[in-house]
Amino acid sequence: MLPVMAVVAVCVFLLLHLAPGDPASIIAGENVSPENIARIRTQLGLDLPVWKQFLVWVGALLTGDLGHSMFWGDPVASLIAQRAEPTISLAITTLLVAVFLAISLGVLAAARAGSLVDRLVMGFAVLGFSVPVFVVGYVLIFVFAINLKWLPVQGYVPIADGVGLWLRNLVLPSVALGMAYVALIARITRTTMLDVLAEDYMRTAKAKGVANRRMLFRHALKNAAVPIATVVGNGVALLIGGVVITETVFNIPGIGRLVVDAIARRDYPIIQGVIMVFSGVYVLVNLLVDLSYTLFDPRVRG
């Protein structure tokens, strides 16, 4: 985990600092002299050589300090903490909806392989993967928020203000974000299930008269679980990318919005901090996925 994070840290820092853009000019505003902009650059430490800036940042990072926003001066850690709840909420609801829906659809498509149901599910999967998140988002807003007025257009309500309100605000963003994820998991579930269903032991089970539902969910799905779990884990990167767009479209004050706004302003400490946190989450999720193999496949434990 640590080597991966170290590589991420170097890459993120270099990419940001070698890319054009000047936070000092943006902070200063439009009608200022070049001298004032230069003063701000000095105050922010942007006049130091890149290698010195890197050492300062890494030194602080090693003590758990993600730095301070160049704009508001707030600690990056507390900015991320303020934005964590909406993002975690969106990610969890999306994951739950997507995994439940995708596995159900994938199993259904595999059980009815070649039928109209199979084709419909796979058609939906192609559509889900092809249509950008923001298009799905705008369509959902137009239909369910503007026309039907069932759900709010935008915003986030903390869970502490009521679970009902919290969920109400998360329905549209979770569906929009979950579309691509459903498509990905449903396709892999179908493929893996078809492979498992063709195994000899499944034919034996069928010959012994095991009920269809029990055969699909108890025997086939469990044996198909390892590749599905792998895709769910790999899909976290897709989810993180989608969160950034979804939070912008639905105006959710999460970490994704934080980083998008920071990129536009070149607020380096926030961008670096968020990417470090996201990469840490990604590595951690994949570690958990690897560990989950032991639950699905006893051979891995040995």
């Binding site: 439009e30 004032n36 105050q43 758990g64 303020q82 709840e85 004050p253 536009a264 946190v277």
Partner: protein, 527 residues
């Protein structure tokens, strides 16, 4: 990571029920989506407009401007000037308090003027002529000048950034080049820092200590009476979402609805459009004087015959009721508007004349590097159209798309255009600021010490100095003509039009005041 985790735990354990109980009802809360995010809370340290919007909420001004843009006392009760116009004496109103409960004194005012003056264009001019700015007692302060400065009250009252907001002496004595993070003002609102989420929403509660004037509100003058309990600036970068939220009643005000969505907005009976800034915004074309081809006067003049503002405005602002072409050096519609030396404008685009000037100037076909900010639609469209107009005249154009953050870095590069420099960039300026030859850096022609483009012209500088010392409006207007006459000969920069961005609001939210380059929330009521 550890810090993040601990901070997250702290945030998660915050008493949500308590928060909900202290929150004013929706009927007493105005939710507004402004044109951008607040980059920093110190409105003196930066000239960013959103920081001035924040400043207008939490701080008060010594003087405001009324709806005729004339300076009127705000925190000041009475003032006077000596016969020789060198000593200005000001007395503060009774009952002025900061949000921490302490009284506003003349010492706070004097320190605030000193800090503001270092950062403001008008303030710097004042400082050059100032002997002393000091408090005589807790209520009275004096500005002593070495030579008269007729623009003093204009500077004190100007709504253009940086605005002279009064801070506590403690903060106002901070080095003007250092940012202040403490937010304690004597304005009509108090920032609710515990509920504010930087970058997401900024919460302002009605100040319990604010003491408004008795006169009716007029722009930034008169009584700043707060008629709601809370105003929330919501940062909503997606315009489609903001319009949908306005239609659904989730927000009450949207400062810059995209012009192409106005038809959609206007069909909604619950929403009104309002023009809050008569002088609007002016599109500014920066020209690099340091490098060929536009280090040549003839070639700069050729640009005047090429630019077609109508074509540059139309793709963004669609309907002429929102935009106009303007041949003035200073903002059209302002007292400084005049028609001196505007033959190029009155005659319209004249590519034959432009080619003639290009030939006289010896244009050698070298590429003209045009910086195009693709994340700001009006700048992107103007750059696209202007590049085509330049090509039609015979210029070889290299249109270089990038985001605004990149433009502001690139335009500071004094190097040759083929070595990371540039020839032309686009920006914009508030109509009020542009109505004054001193308010924006682009009006100066002080060479490489000046603003981006670095034009040099002693005559323009002499005329600007003459303008400052003009004692009456008529005299200023006469000097303004001379400035323009000269400017369109030397062409320090140009314009791509003027526009008035309408704001959109729910009809049940009323009382909007027109203040150039600001949006006040006092006087705003919600039914």
């Amino acid at each position: 990571m550890l810090q993040t985790g601990l901070a997250a735990a702290g945030a998660a354990s915050a008493p949500g029920v308590l928060r909900a109980q202290s929150r004013p009802p929706a009927s007493r809360t105005v939710r507004a989506v402004m044109h951008g995010d607040i980059p920093t809370y110190d409105p003196i340290w930066t000239t960013a407009n959103m920081s001035a919007y924040h400043g207008a909420m939490v701080y008060d001004q010594l003087f405001g401007v009324d709806d005729k843009l004339e300076p009127k006392p705000q925190m000041v009760s009475k003032y006077g000037v000596s016969d020789d116009q060198l000593t200005w004496t000001f007395e503060l109103r009774d009952g002025l308090k900061f949000s921490d409960g302490t009284a506003v004194t003349a010492h706070d005012a004097a320190a605030s003027i000193r800090r503001w003056a270092v950062r403001s264009g008008t303030g710097q001019l004042m400082l050059q002529r100032t002997k002393d700015i000091s408090a005589k007692d807790d209520k009275t302060f004096v500005v002593s000048l070495k030579e008269r400065f007729p623009l003093l009250l204009d500077g004190f009252s100007s709504p253009s950034t940086p605005v002279l907001f009064v801070m506590r002496k403690k903060e106002a004595e901070t080095d003007p080049m250092q940012k202040i993070d403490t937010i304690i003002g004597s304005g009509p609102f108090v920032m609710n820092q515990s509920e504010t989420r930087a970058g997401s929403q900024y919460i302002y509660d009605k100040s319990p200590t604010y003491n408004p004037r008795a006169e009716p509100a007029s722009a930034s003058a008169g009584g700043k009476i707060v008629k709601v309990d809370r105003v929330i600036f919501q940062n909503m970068p997606d315009s489609q979402t903001a319009v949908a939220a306005l239609q659904a009643g989730e927000i009450d005000f949207y400062e810059i609805p995209p012009i192409d969505l106005l038809d959609q907005i206007q069909t909604d009976p619950a929403i009104s459009l309002i023009n809050l800034a008569d002088l609007g915004t002016v599109g500014y074309i920066g020209i690099n004087w340091l490098h060929a081809p536009f280090n040549n006067q003839k070639l700069r003049q050729s640009l005047l015959y090429i630019v077609n503002q109508e074509e540059m405005m139309k793709p963004t602002f669609v309907d002429r009721k929102w935009y106009n072409a303007c041949g003035g050096w200073m903002t059209c519609g302002s007292p400084m508007e005049n028609d001196a030396n505007t033959g190029w404008f009155k005659g319209g685009q004249n590519l034959a004349k432009a080619r003639e000037l290009m030939k006289e100037g010896g244009y050698d076909g070298r590429p003209v590097v045009v910086l195009q900010a693709t994340n700001i639609p009006y700048m992107m469209n103007a750059a696209t159209v202007f590049a085509q107009q330049l090509r039609a005249a015979g210029y070889n154009v290299s249109l270089q798309p990038m985001d605004w953050a990149n433009v502001v870095q690139r335009r500071a590069n004094k190097g040759a255009p083929d070595q990371g420099g540039w020839n032309i960039f686009f920006t914009s300026s508030g109509g009020l600021s542009n109505a004054n030859p001193y308010m924006i850096g682009g009006m100066a022609t002080t060479g490489d010490k000046g603003w981006f483009g670095w034009p040099t012209d002693d005559k323009n500088e002499a005329l600007r100095a003459k303008w400052i010392n003009a004692g009456t409006l008529a005299e200023r207007q006469a000097v303004g003509r001379e400035i323009q006459e000269n400017a369109w000969d030397i062409v320090p920069h140009m314009y791509y039009g003027q526009w008035r961005q309408p704001a959109a609001h729910r009809k049940n939210v009323t009382g909007w005041l027109k203040v150039p380059e600001a949006v006040p929330f006092w006087n705003v009521a919600k039914a």
